[in-house]
């Protein structure tokens, strides 16, 4: 905590505990970094004009959305335009860092209305004035959301964000090669070192690699204990790296349908797409990481200085209707957080829903990431693992 004492933030007293907790979130580091970069430039800049708050006035004729590529069902976007008027401009980013860099450096003039950040980034973005508060009066359809996916740690009152899609981390293996049953991260490690050696891929993300070790061994994923980190490095570099053939964040797009790996660490929605599109789906087994694993959530949010706030609220409200939420789920393959969507999806006979919906017990094993001072160390471990795997 002492490390945080030098940060001063103007906030209501009641919010202080939240902020103190949230500020240490792992990803916040990256955001703060970008903010720091332009700090010097910002000092002489004209102050950001307060973002225009939506009041339920007439919907503007345009809407600009900055999101992950191909992350919304085209028919939903089209229907929105034909029913309510605004034409939609879609822009894509490859990482949260990229999106935050864009918003930070443009100081409220990015021209984006809606952005889709991953949850752990939201407190930092809000504190740095990158997001505009939602007017929930204009989003009555929030009533359709499952309360379990509202009020997350990073935004307890949904002041800035509403769940767009969420997912978790597990792995997929080829049953024609690995005949035994794998159920935990420890099994993943063991299979990687044996049957799947040289045919194993892991996610191309620093915290996912140390995550395998921490989750498997019951260590806090967000630990900053140097001994834990040293142990994770020893494991990743010496025991895991020699067996890794690829660092791949999206094996569902290629590796699973092409059967080019035997064992892959993978996000659930991606695994589902891959297995559904495999010429031999029965060959693949999905396993949710155990005993612990990750939970990530991408969220609808409105950028500060959004030029079309009414249209932005209208859009968020629009996608939250049960029909549209289902269309989105069907298109991207991730849970959109609506209450009752599981039944709707089963009624619509969507396939492989056990990779989309999880039981409350399973959800209880999923943890959020945090930004800690160990970030640089984790990136270092990742780079060392990559160097060791290339030998």
């Amino acid at each position: 905590m002492s490390r945080q004492s030098h940060i001063r933030i103007l906030a209501p007293r009641s919010a202080a505990p939240y902020i103190a907790r949230e500020i240490s979130r792992r990803r916040f580091l990256e955001l703060a970094g970008v903010v720091g970069v332009t700090g010097a430039l910002a000092a002489c800049a004209p102050t950001v004009k307060p973002s225009t708050q939506a009041t339920g006035g007439p919907v503007e004729g345009e809407l600009s959305i900055y999101s992950w590529g191909d992350y919304d069902a085209p028919e939903v976007l089209e229907a929105f335009t034909s029913e309510l008027g605004p034409t939609i401009t879609m822009d894509a980013f490859n990482s949260n860092e990229e999106m935050i860099a864009k918003l930070t450096t443009s100081k409220g003039t990015s021209g984006y209305d809606i952005v889709v950040p991953t949850g752990v980034f939201i407190p930092g973005m809000a504190q740095n004035g990158l997001l505009s508060k939602l007017n929930l009066d204009l989003i009555p359809n929030i009533q359709h959301m499952d309360p379990a996916f509202l009020g997350q740690d990073w935004d307890p009152n949904n002041e800035y964000s509403i769940c767009k899609a969420w997912g978790t981390t597990g792995f997929v293996y080829d049953k024609t090669v690995i005949s035994r049953e794998l159920t935990t991260w420890a099994d993943f490690i063991d299979a990687a070192q044996n049957e799947a050696s040289g045919k194993t891929s892991v996610l191309d993300d620093p915290a996912e690699i140390t995550g395998i070790y921490f989750w498997a061994n019951g260590i806090d994923w967000n630990t900053t204990d140097p001994d834990d980190l040293d142990a994770a490095e020893k494991f990743a570099v010496e025991e895991l790296a020699p067996h890794i053939s690829r660092f791949d964040s999206y094996p569902g797009g290629e590796a699973i349908p092409q059967a080019s790996q035997v064992l892959m660490q993978v996000w659930n929605g991606d695994a589902r797409i891959g297995i559904l599109n495999s010429p031999d789906p029965d060959r693949w087994q999905w396993v949710l990481g155990a005993p612990k694993t990750e939970l990530w959530m991408d969220n609808w949010a409105i950028a500060a200085g959004a030029p079309h706030p009414e249209a932005a609220h209208a859009f968020i409200n629009y996608v939250l209707t049960p029909e549209n939420a289902l269309a989105e789920l069907d298109y991207i393959g991730y849970h959109t957080g609506e209450a009752g969507i599981e039944e709707a999806a089963r009624d619509a006979e969507l396939e492989m829903l056990d990779l989309v919906f999880f039981t409350p017990e399973q959800i209880a094993t999923m943890v959020n990431g945090e930004v800690t001072e160990a970030q640089a160390r984790i990136v270092d471990i990742w780079n060392k693992t990559k160097a060791a795997a290339s030998a």
Binding site: L41, A45, P46, D91, T105, S106, Q258, S278
Partner: protein, 282 residues
């Protein structure tokens, strides 16, 4: 005897050449086939369909991204060609102490990794656009053009310089001796001399810009996602066959344009070869 051996070696060379072309086009053929895939994923064949091509029309994001890339590529090519042409002429015709410095700068531009250009350009463009209030630097296309023009300017400069060094300067001198104003000498003599090199450089700049991902991702603003950034970000929910369909359409258009250019140039004699010959250092 020797004639037969010669023929054999020619055949071997021809086979090698055809094999290299097969190598260059093998994945392109696969991509074209994938663009008729009815399935959800580009890589997993399910059946024949024209659906992916319909998506180009129905998904404005895809169309916009391609248009942004084409526009950026064209403007970046023009900017790089003009800057590089002038610099190349100066380097070839008026070398001096400054030229060594300039060549050093060009070399530095070419060895700097893209990621460094990208992270340094972003805050800089924002500083110019927001703090100095120059609105041009808030424009998405302008930013992309600036980012893509750096390496290309260096390349065009090399190409033009190499072209001119191989040609006699006496024509220009004669023109000047005959009291032609410098602008006229430039337009009538120098410009036609360097034209093939500039065209070649423009083509190369356009090509490099079309594929630029790293710089583009950093400097783009609202409404200006270029095609490569779109493709990379679409990995999040799995690449669909539409992406291959767009490539197929672009490929067909390219080949069509090439066929037209070739037909035209064949009539005007050997000049297609002239253009080709100056590519990359002629």
């Amino acid at each position: 005897m020797s004639g037969k051996r010669r023929a054999a070696s020619d055949v071997a060379l021809g086979v090698w050449g055809v094999a290299v072309f097969a190598f260059l086009f093998a994945p392109i053929v696969v991509v074209v086939m994938s663009s008729f895939n009815s399935g959800r994923l580009l890589v997993a064949w399910q059946g024949f369909s024209l659906e992916p091509f319909a998506a180009i029309v129905s998904k404005p994001a895809i169309r916009d991204a391609v248009l942004v890339s084409l526009q950026t590529g064209a403007i970046a090519a023009v900017v790089a060609s003009i800057l590089g042409m002038l610099a190349g002429i100066a380097l070839a015709r008026r070398p001096g102490k400054w030229a060594a410095w300039f060549i050093a700068l060009l070399l530095l531009v070419s060895v700097t990794p893209e990621i460094v250009d990208a992270v340094s350009l972003l805050p800089w463009l924002v500083f110019l656009g927001q703090d100095l209030g120059l609105p041009i630097f808030n424009d998405g296309i302008a930013r992309l053009v600036i980012g893509h023009s750096l390496f290309s300017t260096a390349v065009v400069s090399y190409i033009v310089r190499a072209r001119l060094i191989g040609l006699d300067a006496r024509l220009e001198e004669a023109s000047a001796d005959l009291y032609a104003p410098p602008v006229r000498t430039f337009l009538r003599i120098t410009l036609p001399l360097v034209a093939p090199a500039v065209l070649a450089g423009a083509l190369l700049s356009f090509t490099l810009s079309l594929d630029n991902t790293v710089i583009a991702a950093f400097v783009q603003v609202s409404g200006s996602t270029p095609w490569p950034v779109y493709v990379l970000s679409a990995l999040r929910s799995g690449l669909r066959p539409e992406i291959a369909a767009v490539s197929t359409v672009m490929l067909v258009l390219t080949l069509g344009a090439l066929a037209v250019v070739w037909a035209v140039l064949r009539r005007s004699g050997d000049s297609s070869n002239q253009i080709a010959r100056t590519l990359a250092g002629g």
